[in-house]
């Protein structure tokens, strides 16, 4: 996994030639003009008005009027990195039998992300078990089953229309019986305004907690990088109902920059843990705030 570099994946948006051109282009601009431009870049990257303003305020304080573009941009990068690295983004699988649950709205990429995690940890030698707890969407069961076959990782399936909590309960029994190391739970996508479905997540979490001590170790919000200002609201609601330990940012190989995670980290004190950069099982990266910020501002 470490062999893939986020910047390689994002070479469309980042070129050193462009950096040089940028420096030259900005050589006769004063600080205010540069700050205006950088604010625009941040807004276009979905950072949002209030986070952008906060960061720009800090930038004003820390830079000097005589500073040129490279210096101002560097201070800005440092500022954002400071925010993003406030909370440790380690993935906690220290327990012998760890349970990981993925939650999020429809179409975020939960199942693909689950397969990526399964692939990565089985490559590391862990015994991984996946459970398809999406018993609602057409072909969700088949989708994960096909991933399982492709990656040679066992999948616990449920019946369409079954209570997902009961599917997970069965999976937990099987997980214990098999003595597997890691249980990865794929839940159905849900819009956070649907209270019934959000309460279903609450119930799922209770079932897991009751069955296995300290579990679930990780609950990740799957967030599409192209999501706008609604991202913070989504994260807040999922945090409230399912609980969250971090964010898995998907589809970062497109043109969207995923800037909306900045306000999530800031306001909800949640780290970003993984980044998805493609459709294949290997297209998974641990989050690096440096690389994320460079891509964000390019």
């Amino acid at each position: 996994m470490a062999t893939i570099n986020l910047r390689d994946k994002l070479k469309k948006t980042r070129q050193t030639f462009k950096d040089k051109f940028e420096d030259f282009f900005h050589s006769d601009k004063d600080r205010e003009e540069i700050i205006d431009e950088l604010s625009e870049t941040m807004i276009l990257a979905d950072v949002g008005i209030s986070s952008t303003e906060k960061i720009i305020d800090a930038l004003r304080q820390k830079s000097k009027k005589s500073d040129h573009f490279p210096r101002i941009k560097q201070i800005l990068e440092e500022e954002i990195i400071k925010i993003l690295s406030q909370y440790p983004s380690d993935f906690n699988l220290s327990a012998d039998h760890s349970v990981v649950m993925l939650v999020g709205i429809n179409g975020g990429g939960k199942t693909t992300s689950l397969a990526k995690l399964a692939y990565h940890y089985s490559q590391e030698g862990k015994h991984v078990l996946m459970v398809a707890a999406d018993t609602f969407r057409a072909a969700a069961q088949e989708q994960l089953a096909l991933w399982g076959r492709k990656l040679n990782i066992p999948v616990i399936k449920g019946q369409y229309g079954a209570d997902p909590a009961s599917v997970i309960f069965d999976a937990l029994q099987s997980f214990r019986a098999r003595q597997s190391d890691l249980l990865l739970i794929d839940t159905a996508g849900r819009i956070h305004t649907n209270i019934n479905l959000m309460q279903e997540l609450e119930k799922i979490r209770r079932v897991i907690q009751r069955e296995i001590d300290e579990a679930p170790q990780e609950i990740l919000l799957i967030l599409d990088a192209s999501t706008g200002q609604n991202a913070l609201i989504q994260a807040r609601e999922f945090l409230k109902f399912s609980g969250l330990t971090g964010v898995f940012l998907t589809k970062l190989d497109g043109t969207a920059k995923g800037g909306s995670v900045i306000s999530i980290v800031e306001e909800l004190q949640l780290p970003i843990k993984f980044v998805g950069v493609g459709e294949e099982e290997k297209d998974l990266l641990f989050f690096s705030s440096q690389e994320f910020v460079r891509a964000l501002l390019s």
Partner: protein, 444 residues
């Protein structure tokens, strides 16, 4: 939804309200706030910029500058412009003259394309058509299974596209059209692979499908929660494939949906439907004015109240509402109301902005021809105070006198009286009383 965005707008509006006139200077400040509000609603930065420029030009013209009520003008301009960009009216689906009509669905991964295929199939079933769902997505795992299960749910046959078939797509698609023609399927709803739009290969594939099938509709499925990037993907699909219309998904969430404005602005294509949930019947026709209100966070009724607030003396309105409730409504009140209505704009327009169903039903019966307001005013002015208090005393002789005094024919006097008595009858109905009590108070 009403929260931050409308707070911002209201702040902006108040700023204007304090001023007698719109000047370039205070206009700039107000527009800056509207700009921020739109950005928070995820409208693309560049789209916002253009939008603000347009508003600025319109608001700064002479008529607005000399107006006594700048707030009203700015609200109207902002909302009108938003509605204009979103499309002046609701548009239906295009069908081909020769069946089958092909609807080709395109969009990014996870935008809700496949679910929307099912919704669209259900919709055309209600038009007494017989749709066929086909997935041309061979990349995503279980894409065929998903369409198969959706077809089963809707009791439609399933036409599978196998890997072999798609290895010679020209033939596969021709076979498909022949199949549809011979079995009488129309429309053919084609689901395509979703990928990130940077993918040239996908674009070529979509172009090929389009060239072979000559679709009646190429529908871009867009996620309403998308941020600034909405512009790029919609534009790319429009440039490379060519779109005919748009369906906006996930509007059951609480995103303000600024993406709608971005997508329509860059493609110039109409939004025809919106998706409001995971079930196949959670699908509705798109209404540009409602979307404008959603983005602005102001309901139609709210703006109506605001209108009434400005134009009518609040106390008088309260008094009128009290009388309506107690059914003490007289011709004198009727006249006062006519005068206010003239100020507020056309009555039929006001009635139109209220919902037509439920408790509001029957209100349309009270509809008055706008031109007649002036005549009615003249007729009532020609009555004595006693006649206005107690119209039952108006006999044939009095009618002729009133007609002469107002310069209107007797028949019109009769019409007015009939309408007045009809209105009184309507007011006695519990429905109308309920309607009245459902209105928010007119004064703060």
């Amino acid at each position: 939804m009403l929260d931050q965005l409308s707070n911002h707008l209201q702040k902006a509006m108040k700023y204007l309200r304090g001023e007698g006139k719109i000047t370039e200077k205070n206009m700039t400040e107000a527009l800056r706030m509207i700009r921020l509000a739109l950005l928070e609603a995820d409208v693309n930065y560049k789209v916002v910029k253009e939008f603000i420029e347009k508003i600025k030009r319109q608001a700064l013209n002479e008529k607005v500058l000399s107006s006594l009520s700048p707030t009203q003008h700015v609200i109207k301009i902002v909302k009108d412009e938003l509605t204009f960009i979103l499309g002046a009216e609701t548009k239906g689906l295009n069908f081909s003259n020769v069946p089958p009509s092909v609807f080709m669905m395109v969009g990014l991964q996870g935008c809700g394309k496949t679910t929307t295929c099912g919704k669209l199939a259900k919709w055309v079933l209600s038009l007494k058509k017989s749709p066929l769902l086909v997935s041309f997505d061979l990349k995503r795992l279980a894409a065929q299974d998903q369409i198969k299960q959706i077809s089963q749910t809707l009791s439609l046959p399933f036409y599978e596209m196998t890997k072999d078939q798609v290895s010679s797509p020209q033939k596969a698609l021709k076979d498909l059209v022949k199949f549809a023609q011979s079995r009488g399927f129309d429309p053919l709803i084609i689901d395509t692979a979703g990928r990130l739009h940077v993918d040239e290969e996908l674009m070529k594939e979509l172009q090929m499908v389009k060239n072979l099938l000559n679709p009646a509709e190429v529908i871009y499925v867009g996620d309403s929660m998308t941020g600034q990037d909405a512009v790029k993907s919609a534009q790319l699909f429009n440039d490379k494939v060519g779109l005919s219309s748009i369906i906006l998904t996930k509007l059951d969430g609480d995103a303000r949906g600024g993406a709608a404005l971005s997508i329509v602005s860059v493609t110039g294509k109409p939004i025809k439907f919106v998706g409001l949930g995971e079930k196949f019947d959670q699908f509705e026709i798109f209404y540009p004015d409602r979307m404008a209100s959603r983005i602005l966070g102001l309901g139609d009724i709210l703006s109506l109240v605001e209108k009434a607030e400005k134009e009518a003396d609040a106390e008088e309105a309260e008094e009128l509402a009290r009388k309506l409730r107690k059914q003490e409504f007289t011709l004198e009140d009727f006249k006062k109301q006519l005068v206010q209505m003239k100020k507020m704009g056309s009555l039929s327009q006001i009635l139109d902005s209220l919902p037509t169903g439920g408790i509001y039903k029957g209100l349309s019966k009270a509809k008055i021809d706008d031109k007649k307001i002036v005549y009615y005013e003249a007729i009532i002015s020609s009555m004595t105070p006693q006649e206005r208090e107690n119209p039952k005393i108006i006999n044939g002789g009095r009618r002729r006198r009133i007609a002469r005094g107002s310069g209107r024919p007797v028949i019109e006097v009769n019409q007015l009286l009939k309408q007045f008595f009809d209105m009184k009858k309507l007011m006695k109905k519990s429905q109308f009383q309920k309607f009245l009590s459902s209105l928010p108070p007119l004064s703060h």
